[in-house]
């Protein structure tokens, strides 16, 4: 069973709104950089950068961050696949907007903050997520939220980007009981 939460047209409008919010919050836009968390955050970071460029009048650098080596459950699950971390600009002094598709327990963001700290010292770190589904296990909240969605633990939020072979649709899936 699956319900469409965001169809492509709404998804695109949501991303455009988030870009405007990021621009509004950060008047010193020359220091701005986006870092997408592997894997779902990468496509969103790219979309936000594309949407931000005409608003700001200049390009915003985009990096990729894989947090697998920083997870807190490595001994409790099969070793996760590692994906590239590519941040080709210095982080020191930057305003970094961490970008992920779904915010859930907050543990991925905790890992991302540790990973980011090992790569440099940003002046400010903000968090942008497409969907905040609740159920936080750590004191973490997003600065920019595409959509707040109360969910049950049995549900799963499924984001399919065209960049990854999907259809730009966000769905809610029910796990079998």
């Amino acid at each position: 069973m699956s319900d469409v939460l965001l169809e492509p047209r709404v998804l695109h409008r949501t991303i455009a709104r988030m870009a405007h919010e990021i621009a509004e919050r950060n008047p010193q836009s020359a220091d701005l950089a986006l870092v997408g968390i592997q894997k779902g955050g990468v496509a969103l970071a790219g979309r936000l950068a594309t949407a931000l460029e005409p608003i700001l009048g200049h390009p915003v650098p985009v990096g990729l961050l894989d947090v697998a080596m920083y997870r807190d459950d490595l001994g409790q699950r099969a070793a996760p696949a590692l994906m590239p971390t590519e941040i080709s600009f210095p982080l020191d002094g930057r305003i970094v907007v961490l970008v992920d598709d779904v915010l859930f327990s907050g543990r991925t963001i905790r890992a991302a903050l540790d990973a980011l700290t090992d790569l440099g010292r940003p002046r400010l770190v903000q968090l942008a997520v497409l969907v905040d589904r609740g159920h936080r296990e750590l004191p973490i909240r997003a600065d920019f939220v595409g959509k707040n969605l109360p969910t049950s633990l049995r549900q799963r939020v499924d984001v399919r980007w065209t960049e990854d072979g999907g259809d730009d649709t966000v769905r809610m899936l029910e796990r079998p009981a």
Partner: protein
């Protein structure tokens, strides 16, 4: 593809998918080594024991640094200064180490099969760091990793392994990884050290005692050290004769393809199996192998550290 093995004992039993997973994982760890902070917390709180019953410097240092860069604690245990000298059995030594809650045992041993034996009763993860003339899996992995990073693939390449094949665990681990990933392997050296019977291991292996033939089509030449310490018989008359018949000299380099890589697991004997100009030349990737060895060993520790299929929780 998910890693499910508890131990790394050999490369012979690894599938192409498993080998590729290690190589892909190693690539990300090599990137960590290029950062200003070269350490990640993946093995924080874990204890790694380097149990080196046979002496080794570079492999031990590489494993030690790999464990440290994963934030594990490391104990070095060498045979010369240990209870093994006082008559304790390997099994008792390992049980004592496990009583200290060591999670990883990295074993270097002169007897083929020692890591396999350990794995039968050990609660920890066993990593073979070289056992007799059997295998040296992490060396095989780092060699294949180095080739793949340079050539972009393994499949279809001609790889020549030159030197002491008979006594070499490095050769065996290389052979298994290479043929599983689709390379053609040529083994070359003195007939006493390169028996024809190696061809029966796999259809992609050929043996030749003619160096020119071994070099002609090679995309990679992996040189092995003559292991004086492992030779029970005199396999060739003199070092000088070996150097003149099988040493990779500049003159012989000229007969190689321009893009051919020169590899050597070290330590190199300059003027014996390899001329100085070749070792230091533009086609040599010998020092890259050392860098890659660290990344591959981090990858192996990282993959083995994962929980097993049986005790996996439902992912969030």
């Amino acid at each position: 593809m998910t890693w499910t093995r508890r131990h790394l004992l050999d490369l012979q039993s690894l599938s192409a998918e498993e080998l590729t997973l290690v190589l892909d994982t190693a690539r990300e760890f090599r990137a960590v080594g290029e950062r200003s902070i070269k350490k990640v917390p993946a093995l924080r709180g874990k204890t790694v024991v380097n149990l080196f019953v046979e002496p080794s410097t570079r492999t031990r240092i590489s494993f030690e640094l790999a464990a440290l860069r994963l934030s594990a604690d490391v104990i070095n245990f060498t045979a010369e200064a240990s209870s093994l000298k006082k008559g304790e059995t390997l099994k008792d030594t390992v049980r004592n180490l496990e009583a200290l809650n060591a999670e990883f045992i990295i074993l270097r041993h002169g007897a083929s099969g020692a890591p396999q034996f350990l794995s039968q009763f050990a609660r920890s993860h066993v990593i073979n760091a070289g056992d007799g003339a059997h295998e040296h899996p992490t060396q095989g992995l780092l060699d294949v990793f180095t080739i793949r990073e340079r050539k972009g693939r393994i499949e279809g390449l001609n790889v020549t392994i030159l030197g002491d094949i008979l006594y070499s665990r490095v050769a065996r681990s290389n052979i298994w990884a290479l043929v599983t990933l689709g390379a053609r392997v040529t083994l070359c050296g003195p007939s006493t050290l390169v028996p024809k019977i190696f061809e029966q291991l796999h259809p992609s292996i050929r043996v030749t005692w003619n160096l020119d033939e071994a070099l002609r089509d090679a995309d990679v030449v992996n040189l092995l050290r003559i292991q004086h310490e492992r030779q029970r018989i005199n396999a060739f008359p003199s070092i000088g004769e070996y150097a003149s018949l099988f040493g990779l000299t500049q003159a012989r380099m000229a007969r190689l393809r321009d893009h051919a890589l020169i590899m050597h697991p070290g330590p190199i004997n300059r003027g014996v199996e390899i001329a100085s100009e070749v070792a230091d030349g533009g086609q040599s990737v010998i020092l890259e192998q050392v860098t890659n060895g660290l990344a591959v060993r981090m990858a192996v520790l990282f993959l083995l550290n994962g929980g097993r299929q049986s005790d996996l929780r439902t992912p969030a």
